[in-house]
């Protein structure tokens, strides 16, 4: 029977099927740990007197609570956050796990760091304590998020209890237009299928528009697939992936690279594979999107208007729209381009890699941030920051009036000191526009990095396609 890539990866890592039920024992090749979802897992190990099964399969990265002020410091004013970082460092040391701490030149957002150093490779199965672990699908690895109890289970056994998902193939045909990016493709997908449209599924993204994207664009897509409920999102690895990995510090080299690449080239769904669900999207029909509500599927094209709940026939959806509009302080019928912002944020594991910063900088060149807008760039990693500085992108951002900050999760979820106040409105290159996500009462509009840049200059949500590019 022809098999999907997802099923092949699950089969390859199945230790055994568990009796009585549909669960399997799934071997995990790698994890990345962070300071906020792991502490109770380590405490559990300590209390039970258990060791870590394979410490070298784990990498510990401080990313969620660290400040991102331009000058790096080991100290954190927030005593709870400081205690988390201290305990994280102690756990890494006591259990023999490699740690990238705040001052490490390799520090960054876990999903940016793990890919740029070649810690994650095609064909791996990766489970980690962060929902955006789906990012690794862009390299042809199966990545999925787990909770703290399952982190503890992984650490002690190198496995998780797993239940096989249904498969969905999303074929994105055609070609994206100028001003449209990977972020718009995934936002268009989430809008079309709904925030629960892929619950219970693993997605394989395919088609000409996906093949045409760079590896980082595919990461944006796989990363945000979880916002449709997918617990896994894969793109079959190709030459672009192999070129991306070839010179990363931890990729295999020499004869082992040859052997690995030969294997990686076999990682694709068999011809004739029947997926449980097929979805098709036309990339040429996608416009730059912005969210208007508090769920990632509540999005419209930038040249559209705030929708009217009265026209929604499904009562649950209508109630959700009414509540979202009240929270967001928006009136039906308002043009999205008329929505004024006070903040612009470029960052997150979704959109803070070097391609994202290049996109945003190309829009900003020769422009200034509008008066009254606080704009910041938080690079995805220290390495991204260094590359950007070598290219002079920091000057473009600073000259435009953006803050050029250190790396971390920052205002994507506002666990550190980058927090918005009640009612403050932000154009954001992040992944979740949930109530309270960027601060209690804060209002988030999701969009691509280029669109955030355009909004920062305009002072309101703006169509990057109409924007005067001076570069």
């Amino acid at each position: 029977m022809p098999l999907s890539l997802y099923d092949k990866l699950v089969d390859a890592n199945t230790v055994r099927r568990l009796e009585g039920g549909e669960q399997i024992l799934l071997y995990i090749d790698r994890t990345v740990l962070n300071e906020y979802t792991s502490p109770q897992a380590f405490t559990g190990l300590r209390e039970a007197g258990r060791r870590v099964w394979r410490p070298e399969a784990s990498l510990a990265v401080v990313d969620h609570v660290n400040p991102t002020a331009a000058r790096r410091m080991r100290e954190i004013a927030d005593s709870q956050a400081a205690a988390q970082v201290d305990y994280f460092e102690r756990n890494a040391r006591d259990f023999g796990i490699e740690l990238f701490d705040i001052l490490d030149p390799r520090q960054g957002i876990e999903h940016v760091v793990a890919t740029e150093i070649g810690f994650i490779l095609p064909g791996m199965v990766v489970a980690a304590g962060d929902s955006h672990t789906t990012t690794y699908g862009a390299l042809g690895a199966l990545g999925f998020g787990i909770g703290t109890s399952d982190i503890e289970h992984y650490l002690a056994t190198q496995t998780v209890i797993y239940r096989r998902l249904k498969t969905m193939r999303v074929t994105v045909g055609g070609k994206i237009s100028a001003g449209v990016s990977a972020k718009d493709i995934i936002m268009a997908f989430i809008r079309s299928i709904g925030a629960d449209g892929a619950v219970g599924y693993a997605i394989e993204f395919a088609g000409a528009a996906i093949e045409a994207l760079g590896v980082e664009g595919r990461m944006t897509i796989c990363n945000m697939a979880v916002e449709a409920g997918a617990r896994g999102a894969i793109v079959a690895p190709d030459d672009k992936v192999f070129a991306y990995l070839k010179y990363t510090p931890r990729a295999p080299n020499g004869a082992m690279w040859e052997q690995a690449e030969a294997y990686w080239r076999t990682l694709k769904s068999d011809p004739g594979t029947v997926f449980n669900r097929e979805v098709a999207l036309d990339a040429s029909a996608i416009a730059p999107l912005v969210t208007w509500g508090t769920s990632p599927d509540q999005a419209v094209a930038i040249d559209d208007i705030v929708p009217n709940p009265a026209r929604e026939t499904n009562p649950t959806r209508r109630a959700g729209m009414v509540r979202a509009l009240e929270y967001m302080g928006l009136e039906p019928g308002t043009p999205m381009e008329a929505v004024r912002i006070g903040h612009a944020f470029i960052g997150s594991c979704t959109n803070a890699r070097i391609d994202d910063l290049r996109d945003a900088a190309s829009v900003l060149l020769g422009h200034r941030v509008a008066p009254g807008v606080r704009a910041m760039v938080v690079p995805g990693s220290s390495e991204v920051r260094r590359v950007a500085e070598a290219e002079g992108l920091d000057r473009v951002f600073l000259d435009a009036g953006f803050e050029w900050r250190q790396s971390g999760c920052s205002m994507c979820l506002a666990m550190n000191d980058d927090v918005l106040g009640p009612g403050e409105r932000c154009a954001s290159s992040t992944n979740r526009n949930f109530e309270g996500r960027q601060g209690t009462g804060a209002r988030t509009h999701l969009m691509s990095p280029a669109m955030v840049a355009a909004a920062a200059v305009a002072g309101h949500l703006a169509d990057v396609r109409k924007f005067e590019i001076k570069a």
Binding site: T43, G145, G147, A156, T159, F434, G436
Partner: protein
Amino acid sequence: MQPLTEIRGRAAPMQAAHIDTDVIMPKQFLKGIDRAGLGDKVFFDQRYDSVGAPRQDFILNREAWRDSRFLIVGPNFGCGSSREHAVWGLMQFGIRALIGTSFAGIFNDNCRSNGLLTVTLPADQIAMLLAHAGDPARNMLMLDLASQEMTVVHNGTVIAFEIDARRKRALLVGLDAIGTTLQDAQAIGQFEATRRTAYRWL
């Protein structure tokens, strides 16, 4: 994990779709290194106003629902962040079972790990339960895990539900998942050795 056999108590309706874990447990309460103290933080921004006073329009703040053991929830409950703090908070508040049409994947696994029962039912049964849950005179439920049935106490309606057999057994005995898996340590070790021989770069 504590064994779970039966649950008896009130149900509260929470029918909005896509209630995410940021809403269930806001980020300001994720900075602990233990699991404690989350019961009065669950749904914090919906429960309390800007000066910290309980909002009377929030269902779990109202007298009739304050001691609820069940939540009847809308689709995709628990979506978003993997934070298990959401489950810890719900359980510390006193919730023992969530009943809805669908649950987000990571959240559902986190419930499993902590012995918080999730029951998936068709939309028409959820609509019926929501109607009961919204009325304090009719919102008592009894759930028996062994027989996979719940009963609406005031009128005796019985609803059967499905649950994975292994998950059910784990809940009934309060299984130590890690201890159980470690009984397979030899199989895991052999699997690992074979895999790392075939794919030496792993």
